[in-house]
């Protein structure tokens, strides 16, 4: 590994994940190129990368989403690989394709696989073929109101109508009876068409108090697949995760084993490679139903790193370089202890309005069992143009109770001045008796407001 699997890697991202990728590259001895918008000129990724190239103004469309600028930066710096991080271009099949045509390795799945996973209804059909449990629903896109009513009657109410290309709640409707279906289908189709330029809508069983469970996948380019256990991500607000943990406090071992095994087969059959996450809903009985594949590294990947001891970003790079999973993992995967991540956002903890600005005082917590991933520094600015993530705080302990105690302690010692953060909200979550009992679903935060 002295010379590293790549000569030089460009990081097509910003913020904490850009710094995270720089760390992985440093650990592998690979020089890095940071690209940045004018708003991020004084950011830590720019400081700590070996080279830094300004690619455009603050607006993402003209910098972090601008494919020609990023490819051009890659060409003038002679990198042989690009890590896309999460968000931005990370699940853009076209970008992955342009990288390939430019002779630059895209650190992620093949463009065709990204494209296939990007169409939810197609991903769902593929998973179903390989025995991954799927919510009862329509066979793909609904072609008529009659088909919708018929399918809903067969499944039983309530059902949910969803945009095939959807996300963020748009193009979604819950129907409680056959009478409502045609009307809501039309609404969902209109909304989907406006938001995603595709009016395709499908239908599935609606779970009232779902939990969000996702499985971390690693797959090499030689057909080896490892399922690294799950993360429980049910603590959300408006579909934005606030806190994630591994293992889930409620997932039954036999469900974990069964789903992992079908996933392993499906991922291999699809030809999926690199890191990825498979999202499931859990119903009130503890059964899992496939939702979608996130064909990238996730924000919350550190909780899996904490319980497995595997550096997932390093693994991504080595996979992209053609190494095999047995080489990378060096033995069977052992999960130990419990890990929790809090996403500390720059936002008012009461109103949830964003709170960008200059950090005038900062104390990062450390100590036993605590990891901090952040691009924040005292006197640095959280710009208003991008997401509001300030830091990821990860606590690991021998069990859930030790992880919770350590997280509470770290939140106590975490001081951010000059901007509002979600720290008070996170303290409230950690102190909630239902949270401590593991008794929650995705509506947990909603019930407070």
């Amino acid at each position: 590994m002295a010379s590293g699997p790549f000569k030089k890697i460009l990081i097509a991202n910003r913020g904490e994940i850009a710094l995270r990728i720089i760390c992985a590259c440093k650990d592998l001895g690979i020089p890095t190129v940071a690209v940045y918008s004018e708003a991020d000129r004084n950011s830590l990724p720019v400081r700590f990368a070996d080279q830094a190239i300004c690619i455009g103004p603050a607006k993402s469309a003209r910098s972090y989403l601008d494919i020609p600028s990023i490819i051009s930066a890659a060409e003038i710096t002679n990198v042989d690989a690009i890590h896309p991080g999460y968000g931005f271009l990370s699940e853009n099949a076209n970008f992955a394709d342009v990288c390939r045509e430019s002779g630059i390795k895209f650190i992620g799945p093949k463009p065709e696989v990204i494209a296939a996973m990007g169409i939810k209804e197609r991903a769902r059909a593929i998973m179903k073929d390989y025995g991954v449990p799927i919510l009862p629903g329509s066979d793909g896109v609904l072609s008529s109101p009659e088909e919708a009513v018929e399918t809903a009657n067969r499944i039983g109410y309530p059902v949910i109508l969803k945009a095939s290309a959807g996300g963020g709640g748009r193009g979604m409707r819950v129907a409680n009876s056959a009478e409502e279906v045609p009307h809501l289908l039309m609404q969902a189709q209109q909304e989907a068409g406006a938001a995603f330029s595709s009016a395709d809508v499908y239908l599935e069983k609606f779970i009232g108090a779902p939990r969000h469970i996702e499985f971390q996948v690693l797959a090499d380019e030689h057909g080896n697949v490892e399922i690294l256990g799950e993360r429980e991500c049910s603590i959300q607000r408006r579909h934005q995760k606030l806190l994630e943990e591994s293992p889930s406090p409620v997932l039954r071992a036999e469900v974990r084993e069964r789903v992992s095994e079908t996933l392993r087969q499906a991922i291999r059959a699809i030809g999926y490679s690199n890191a990825g996450t498979v999202e499931f809903l859990m119903d009130e009985k503890g059964d899992l139903y496939f939702i979608e594949v996130n064909a990238r590294i996730q924000v919350e990947h550190p909780v899996t790193e904490a319980v497995t001891g595997i550096d997932l970003v390093k693994a991504q790079i080595r996979i992209a370089a053609g190494e095999t999973l047995p080489e990378i993992l060096g033995g069977p995967v052992v999960r130990s202890g419990h890990a929790i991540e809090c996403r500390i956002n720059a936002e008012n903890p009461d109103t949830f309005t964003p709170s960008p600005g200059r950090i005038t005082g900062l104390n990062l917590p450390g100590g036993v069992g605590i990891r901090v991933d952040t691009h924040a520094f005292q006197d640095g600015v959280i710009p208003p143009y991008y997401d509001s993530l300030v830091a990821k705080l990860i606590a690991h302990g021998k069990d859930r109770s030790e992880a919770i105690a350590r997280m509470k302690r770290a939140l106590d010692l975490f001081v951010v001045e000059g901007i509002h953060t979600s720290i008070p909200l996170h303290k409230r979550i950690l102190n909630d008796p239902d949270f401590v009992e593991g008794n929650f679903d995705t509506n947990f935060i909603k019930r407070w407001f």
Partner: protein, 162 residues
Amino acid sequence: MTLDEIRELIQLASETGIAELEVQRGENRVRIRKSFGASGGGETNVYLPNAAPSPVQSVPQAPPPTISAPPKAEAPAAKTPDSLIYVKSPIVGTFYEAASPSNPPFVRIGEHVSLGKVLCIIESMKLMNEIETDVAGIVETKLVQNGQPVEYGEALFGIRPV
């Protein structure tokens, strides 16, 4: 030293991206320290390597690990005190001063250019982008070498308007 003078000094310090300013006039002394290096509104501490015109890019050393490192390779402000106007690169790419190695440069130092005159080419993803001047005047400085990579917003030519 009046308050207005001090205010001006602070503004000066802020604009110029320095970390610390100390002024003494006879018995009067003012010292201004900027709040933290890596922050600041406009100053930069990053760089693009000034590569030789060879196709192989040399890997420069990382800057010293001080957060308040002085600005490096800063793109000059659009308008500097000497009233030169800088034409900046609108894209990331490779700078070429001529249409081909056998052609003469588009412009030479001292030459008068009128609005819309092509100054250079920036190659980006195999596309040759002609960069035109948006100011008429005398070309006084050329800030990059032929074949050199340039980043977004990097100053290419300094032109004195006439």
